[in-house]
Every structure is written in C-alpha cells, then in structure tokens.
C-alpha cells in the first residue's frame, strides 16, 4: 500500500499546491453556493458509507455542494492530507473529517482553519480535541460503560467471579479503542488504573487483552489466544461487532458459545441481527448518519451566519448519542430492543 502511495503523493502535493494558486482567484469570483468536504477513513467500511449517505442527503437539502474523499485503508494519513489540501484549494466553507491519524493530521487541519474553513471532526476526536473547531462523535466511553453495566447486571452475583476477555482494536491503542475498553471496565466495576490506556489493570477477573483489527479474522484469533490462556472465560468485550462475530466462531468451535456473554459496540445492522440471533448479548449503538447531517448543518450555519457549533454541556464535544441495544433488558440500564435497533442501524 505504502509503496504505491509515496510517489503519486509527492506529485499530487505539488499539483495541489499549483491548483491552489490557480483556484484562489477563481474561488473569489465563484457564485455563492456553499462548498463542503467529507473526508472519511475509508470508503469501504459501512459506517463511513452510511455517514456519507447522511451527509449527502442533508447537503442536497441545504443546497451545499459536497465532495467526498477517503483514505485507502484505516490509518492512511497521506490520502487525508491530500484531501484537505484539495479542499482548501477548492475554497470550501467547511470540512468534515474522520481522522485516520488523530495527531498527524493536525497541522493540515490547522492549515485549513487558517484559510477560514470550519473543520469538524466526526466520530474520532483529534488530539488535542481542540485542534478542530468542533467534534461530533459518539461518547465512546459512555458506549463502553453501557455494555459494561449491562454485562454486570446480566450476570448478577456471578459478576464477582467473571473471567473476562477484552478484544481490542490495535496495539497502538487508538483513543476510540481505549475509551470503549475503559468505559466497559468502569461499567463492569473494574478499577481502571490509568484511564488513558488499557492493559494496566490489576483486577484478577481479567484474563487478558488481545487485538483484533476490528474484523472477524482478528476476533477469532484473539479469542482463541485468550481461550488458550484460560478456557473458563465467560465475558467477552469486543471493540466492534465483526470482532464479536469472530470471537463467537472461536467459542463455537470449543462448544462454549451458549455460556459466554459477548458485548460489543457499533450497532451496525449485521451486529443488531447478531443480537437478535443471540450471538451478541448487547451492543452500544452509535449514529453516524446523525454525525454527518449535524455536521453539514453546522457548516451551513457557519457559512450563513458565522456561528460555530456548541458542545454538549459538560463535554468537550457534541455528543450524537448512543443507545444500548439488547433483547435482554436489565434493571437500571436503559435499552432498546432489536426491532428498534434495526430501524436505527447502519450498514
């Protein structure tokens, strides 16, 4: 991947700079239509596909001209940098971005803001979070906390003897993975240690952490590895629903699929279907469509009145909400059932 990206990247950066010069003049005289950019991590993940759909729909309604860009794979910063440069050159009013690399993209974001563009981070906050004008995201810590609380309540008194496996995203510990993981622990009643990283907890109920890359293959392998460490595992936290599906296959292969509680985050349609089928116990559903449409509205407001979006009270970002989806509601944790979840699901 990298190999193919390096050369064209240089060339097109030079080209982008050139285009930028050429278009400054043009942008000034262009007609009044508002331009906006949506830059997602990839174009393949249904989460971003849904996000794009939401943005396009709202943009059409508000008469905003929306261009979409995406990295090739999760982590592809280079493409996102190029996309920002192109957007600056295009003279847009606002950029919505789900950053692949939350730190490395910051200088480019700053460049855009310096050019008078409203930059809103969607789904994934930048580091620092103040590097963007606003962040529209799921409260990932809350998402984890909900499934942690649910798992604890669902186990009842057995929660004290739980054997817990945590299937995380990546060894680099991106913030979204850490927040969900730590939120889960908080909800389950585990001492977090340093809440900015996973793996430093000392609770004996934790069997271990392994990474999944957020897909089925990784989920299965990680589950197998942890089962080899302790076959008595009975609670499995997963970073997302594909990883949960992989973990379920591993459990099924050793005949444990019926007596292990799997919880996850996302609320994608296959994930909700898996809850209905009993594969996953509960998931925290997030709303990418809302992130995108709210983002477009914010750009519209910025372009017409110069108003910047406000954060959710008590938080340093705009919380687009999260709901617990399960067919086994427990007391004290608000939830919706899978029929409602299906109506709201994405991808």
């Amino acid at each position: 991947m990298k190999l193919s990206a390096i050369l064209p990247a240089r060339a097109s950066r030079a080209a982008a700079a050139f285009v930028m010069l050429a278009m400054f003049g043009a942008a000034q005289t262009a007609h009044a239509q508002i331009g906006a950019c949506l830059i997602t991590k990839t174009e393949t993940n249904p989460f971003f596909v849904k996000m794009k759909q939401g943005a396009q729909k709202r943009a059409a309604e508000l008469g905003i001209e929306l261009n979409s860009y995406a990295g090739r794979i999760d982590g592809d910063n280079e493409s996102q940098v190029k996309a920002i440069e192109t957007c600056i050159a295009g003279g847009v009013k606002g950029i919505l971005i789900t950053p692949s690399n939350t730190k490395a993209i910051v200088p480019s974001v700053q460049q855009a803001r310096d050019a008078g563009i409203l930059v809103i981070a969607l789904d994934t906050p930048l580091e620092p979070i103040s590097a963007a004008d606003a962040t529209f995201a799921t409260d990932n810590f809350r998402a984890g906390e909900l499934i942690g609380q649910w798992a604890r309540a669902a186990m009842g008194s057995e929660a004290a003897n739980a054997r817990i496996a945590l299937l995380d995203l990546d060894v680099s510990q991106p913030s979204v993975g850490v927040l969900r993981d730590q939120g889960f622990m908080q909800g389950f009643g585990i001492d977090l240690g340093d809440p900015n990283k996973w793996g430093d907890e000392t609770d004996p109920r934790i069997v271990g952490h392994d990474v999944t890359a957020g897909n089925e293959e990784g989920g299965r392998r990680a589950m197998e590895n942890l089962l080899a460490i302790d076959p008595r595992i009975n609670v499995v936290y997963t970073i997302n629903e594909p990883a949960a599906a992989g973990a379920y296959e591993a459990l099924k292969s050793v005949g444990r699929e019926r007596d292990v509680l799997i919880v996850s985050v996302d609320g994608g349609c296959p994930g909700v279907a898996n809850i209905k089928a009993g594969v996953i116990g509960a998931t925290s559903q997030q709303y990418p469509l809302l992130m995108a449409s709210k983002g477009i509205e914010a750009i519209h407001a910025w372009a017409s009145s110069g108003a910047k979006p406000a954060n959710t009270p008590g938080k340093d970002f705009f919380d687009t909400g999260v709901k617990l989806v399960t067919d086994r509601p427990v007391a004290g944790v608000e939830s919706i059932d899978t029929d409602q979840g299906t109506a709201l699901c994405w991808g």
């Binding site: 060894v171 197998e224 992989g246 594969v279």
Partner: protein, 375 residues
C-alpha cells in the same frame, strides 16, 4: 595417470560415444589429460571442510532449516509454558490459526519458485470468498455452484496474472501489484462491503462453512481447513518433486532461458503456475469462510504479506528455483508458534512482529549463505 584404469573400464562398459576413444588415439597426451581432469574434479566434495557439507545438506534439503527452527521454538515455548502450550488443544490451535495463511502460502510458494512474486493472493482469496457468498445469497445459486464460481474467479485472476507475466513478459511484482489493487477494489465495489452473517450461512448454505467442520481426537482439534492445508501441501510437494511439471517449475525459476533452451516451455509453465495459484487462493477463500464463519470483504488484508513471510522463513529463495513447499508450511507454523507462544507468555503482541521480522532477515541471510556455495 593412476586414474586411467578406472576411466578405461568405464569406457569399456558403455556402448555409447565413449567407445570411440580410438578416434583420439593419435592424441594420447590429450586423452590422458582429459581423464585426469575429469577424475580430479570428483574428489572435490570429499575434501571440502565440514561447513561445506552443512551447506550442501541445507542446499539439498531446503526445509531442514525452518524445520529445525520450528522444533527449537516448540521446545523453547514448551519449556517456558509447560502443559499449557504442550496440550493437544494449543498445538492444534496453531494449525487452525495458520491454515489460511498456509494455503495462500502454497500459492505464493509456487509463484516464488518461478522467481516471481504474487502480491494479489490475499485479494484473490477474499474476492473468491465474496463471490461464493454473494452468488449464493444475492443470486440464489446453489452453494456448490457458487463455490465453483468462486474457483472460476480465482482461476481467472490467476490467468490474467499468468498472461501478463508469461506472455506479455511484464515483471510479476508490477503485474500482481496492479492486480492486487484491481481485485481488492472489485471486491469492495461488488460486495458493497456487505458482510454475510455466519448464522445466515449456517442456516442456508452450510457448504460454504464446510472447512470449519472438525475432526476431534481427544483434545486435538483438526478442522477440515487444517486437513485441506496439509493435503494441499503434501500434494504440491509430490507434484514439485515427483513430476516433470514440478521439475520444470524449479528449472524455470532457476534459469528461465536455460530451461527454455533445454526444451521446456517456460511460458506454459509460468501460465500454469499462476492459474494454479489463483485456484489455490480460491480454496483459501473457501477455507476462510469456514474459519471466520461469515463472508467478509474486509478479511485477509494481510494475507499477501503473511504468505510471503511464511515462504521466506520457510527457506524458499526469493530468487527462484530453490526451496520447498514443506519449508513454507514450517515457516507458517513458526509464525503461528511464536504468535501463540508469546501471547501465552503474556507478551505485548508487538514482540511477535519484532521476532518475526528478525526471523525474516535471518532466513534471507541463510538463503544467501546457502546459495553462495553454488559459486
């Protein structure tokens, strides 16, 4: 001249050209000299230092090095972890975890033996699995027909690679780099990144999950995917060492021009290798469905790198013509043993990558050392 009797006796035994010694009788000195030269050269190996013999042994048995490393790492983790690691469950788990990479690695080995490389293996695998799934669920084809279509897609991708490499004579690295992108993009465009759930497959098209089925022997679990991998490697080992086609694969990888001049159609051999690689990737795609239960277009992103890793650690020379498919399997198992062993030790997964990186470099160095003997 003391060697002459042996040489004459040899000539006398034969019925071919050698009996014509008389033709050169007028040139006695020449004949004697010739015999001495031929005789002197023979003894060379016997007089070489022991190191030469070690090299020569590895040279003739390219899978010996990775086998040795595999046994050492098994012993090492066994000592460190005891019964937790040396359980039938853990050991067969390693097999299950390397099954897909082992199968893709078999395809990769074939291509690398011809001095090529196939960067598209992972993408072809995933596209084949997606075709098997989507043809069943989107078009309602019987699962068996959908599986056949998946194999056809794999063969087609292989044929395109083979055509461009063998016929148009483009470098394999570039051809398969292009195919990788094309196939991956096709995969995402066609599938719309839609995952087909394990439960739906189990209910409606369990044939797709065939390779997830298993045979249990005590604590040991052998999935059909593992059995398929072992059977495939055994079959290819046979084909590569016991059939003319296999000899030709090695000869083409070693020196394509020499093979061509010797009467081997290098083009046909290359073409057959790429098609076979495509078919094997399709098999890997089927096994992948059995492994992860679902059909996921995002699976297998690293299969090409992992397969090349297995091939290199397995002692197959990237310069072609040397190595064995069994070595590749050992290479894949080494990676599997390290991954699971280090996890059981509780090490950060990064250590696995670090050690595998070291192994790759060591393997390449060993390959150079063994090849240096040739000159």
């Amino acid at each position: 001249m003391t060697d002459n009797p042996q040489s004459y006796r040899a000539d006398g035994d034969g019925t071919g050209v050698g009996t014509g010694d008389g033709a050169g009788a007028g040139d006695g000195a020449g004949a004697g000299a010739g015999n001495t030269v031929a005789a002197a050269a023979v003894h060379a190996p016997a007089h070489e230092p022991p190191l030469w013999r070690v090299r020569h042994f590895f040279h003739r048995h390219p899978e010996a090095v990775p086998l040795f490393v595999l046994l050492c790492s098994l012993a090492g983790f066994g000592l460190a972890l005891g019964g937790k690691f040396f359980s039938p469950f853990a050991l067969t788990l390693i097999l299950q975890q390397v099954a897909v990479v082992g199968i893709v690695g078999a395809a990769q080995t074939l291509v690398i033996l011809t001095a090529g490389i196939d960067l598209s293996v992972g993408a072809v695998m995933v596209l084949s699995s997606v075709v098997m799934g989507q043809f069943t669920f989107r078009y309602g084809l019987p699962p068996a027909a959908a599986v056949a279509c998946g194999f056809a897609v794999g063969a087609l991708c292989g044929a395109v690679n083979g055509f461009l490499v063998a016929r148009v004579r483009l470098p394999p690295f570039i051809v398969t780099l292009g195919m990788w992108q094309i196939v991956l993009a096709t995969n995402f465009l066609y599938s719309a990144n839609e995952t087909i759930r394990s439960q739906d497959i189990a209910a409606q098209a369990s044939l797709l999950q065939f390779f997830g089925g298993k045979a249990q022997l005590g604590g040991a679990v052998f999935t059909y995917g593992v059995i398929a991998m072992v059977a495939l490697v055994a079959g290819l080992q046979y084909a590569l060492t016991r059939t003319a086609w296999g000899r030709h694969v090695y000869a083409v990888g070693d020196d394509p021009q020499a093979a061509q001049l010797a009467g081997v159609s290098a083009r046909r051999v290359l073409f057959s290798v790429y098609i076979l690689a495509g078919l094997i990737c399709a098999l890997a795609g089927w096994v992948l469905i059995g492994r992860i239960g679902s059909v996921s277009p995002t699976a297998g992103q690293f299969a090409n790198i992992e397969s090349i890793t297995a091939v290199v650690i397995g002692g197959v020379s990237l310069f072609g013509g040397r190595g064995s498919i069994a070595g590749m399997l050992f290479g894949a198992l080494i990676v599997g043993v390290f991954s699971l062993g280090l996890r059981l030790l509780g090490a950060d997964p990064q250590w696995t990558y670090l050690l595998i990186g070291l192994l790759i470099i060591l393997a390449i160095a060993a390959d150079q050392w063994i090849r240096a003997l040739a000159r």
